[in-house]
């Protein structure tokens, strides 16, 4: 398990580690309730998105949509861009990322290091401007390929074929699976696999609840639900605010030595909620949750130090997950 032919071959197969100090204490004689962290930050570029990027590119190759030298256009400032940049480099494609000009310096530097080209949309226009810019670029380059992670079945399939089987292999007694909800790929793929194999499994989503600035004046009639999303795969869905996400992120490093990004703090918050319910009800529980990335890319937010109120202020208006 320690030798691979290439970096791409080293994707997945991440460790599942127990969290004995964070797992709730149960009364004497009561069944155990345990928390387990799936360390997706151990993937080639440091996030869970490597799995989806690799599967989406391979699926596009198999379908003849991508040929050597082609250009991939991805409007992203997040982990998907970094993952795609690495995969594109190794598979011989050019990657162009569209992102608002106010994203953190770490993101821009990382993407450029991996060889991606970046087109900035004016920060002042916010996400509406990003839409306009992406549309304009797409119209000018109809031959560029967009993988569309929100509706690309290969995104969810990556987790159906890899993350799910890995979890079941490492934790056959799993009772709950908890992950962040964004494109929904991780939850849909892993959730479907585990539902097929484990009777009574609970699939739990944790979604970030950002500061008000992020939602702004978004019109309710123009909302968006990813094409991949199928609510019947989930049992529960939690909304986790910035303060709780930061609190749990700090707790994870203080108590268990795991240094993670804020989205993982939100996921831990939901995982602890279901773990404590199991304790209350006297039920056995093995709760596995996804660590989607490490904390390195978020250090410049300043939200790892100071009071929780300071951290909340620092993250107001930021997309921390």
């Amino acid at each position: 398990m320690a030798r691979y032919d290439s970096l791409l071959d080293a994707c997945g197969g991440t460790p599942l580690v127990g969290l004995p100090r964070l797992s709730p204490t149960v009364p004497e004689g009561a069944p155990p309730v345990r928390l387990w962290a799936k360390l997706e930050d151990r993937n080639p570029t440091g996030s869970v998105k490597d799995r989806a990027a690799m599967f989406m590119v391979r699926a596009a190759e198999a379908a003849g949509r991508l040929r050597p030298g082609d250009t991939i256009l991805e409007p992203t400032s997040g982990n998907t861009g970094i993952s795609l940049a690495m995969v594109a480099k190794l598979r011989g494609y050019r990657l162009v990322c569209v992102m608002p000009e106010n994203v953190s310096a770490e993101r821009v530097q990382l993407l450029r290091m991996y060889g991606a080209e970046i087109i900035f949309s004016p920060a002042a226009g916010g996400s509406n401007q990003a839409v306009a810019t992406a549309k304009q670029i797409a119209a000018e380059h109809p031959d560029w390929v967009m993988l569309f992670q929100y509706g690309n079945e290969a995104n969810a399939r990556a987790h159906y074929e890899t993350t799910g089987p890995e979890l079941l292999h490492d934790l056959p007694t799993i009772t709950h699976f908890v992950a962040g909800l964004g494109t929904t790929g991780t939850l849909m793929g892993t959730g479907r696999y585990l539902r097929e194999k484990v009777e009574g499994i609970q699939i739990v989503a944790a979604e970030p609840r950002y500061g008000e600035l992020v939602y702004g004046l978004r019109n309710i009639d123009e909302g968006y639900v990813p094409e991949l999303y199928d609510a019947t795969v989930l049992n529960r869905r939690f909304s986790v605010g910035t303060r709780d996400a930061v609190l749990r992120t700090r707790q994870l490093v203080e108590v268990e030595g795991l240094f993670v990004g804020f989205s993982t703090g939100a996921v831990l918050h939901a995982a602890l909620a279901v773990a404590h319910e199991a304790v209350r009800d006297g039920r056995r529980a093995d709760v596995a949750f996804v660590v989607s990335d490490g904390g390195w890319k978020y250090l410049s937010t300043g939200a790892y130090g100071g009071t929780l109120a300071d951290a909340e202020d620092a993250l107001e208006g930021q997309l921390w997950a």
Partner: protein
């Protein structure tokens, strides 16, 4: 003690600009009817004519999505906290980008991706 309801920016025109309002009801449906008696029009923005929660609205009771708690029939108790938010996927930027890509793929005549079954 009443139920505290957090109103998103876009709907504050119905609450005179108030960020948080109070209401009562045994279910979400009752609560929204109660709120509408003081904030006329609010309910109509959240519930469709067919009587379901609007697709792009998320409502949470004590941070949990009501769609998994019975939707409009979700039970409420005094002291509960209800949060109303517009549906935003994968961060607001991801949301915006997704809409743009979907249109590009349709325009380019690409096969619409299907969900894995």
């Amino acid at each position: 003690m009443a139920i505290e309801v957090r109103i998103p920016t876009i709907l504050r025109s119905y609450t005179g600009g108030a960020k948080v309002v109070e209401g009562s009801g045994d279910t979400l449906n009752d609560l929204l009817t109660d709120l509408d008696s003081r904030h006329a029009g609010l309910r109509g923005r959240l519930v469709t004519e067919a009587g379901a929660l609007h697709r792009f609205v998320n409502v949470y009771v004590n941070d949990e999505d009501v769609r998994f708690l019975g939707a409009l029939d979700a039970k409420l108790s005094d002291g509960d906290s209800v949060t109303i938010l517009p549906a935003v996927a994968g961060g607001a930027f991801g949301f915006a980008a997704a809409a743009a890509i979907a249109q590009h793929n349709t325009a380019a005549g690409r096969r619409t991706p299907v969900t894995v079954g």
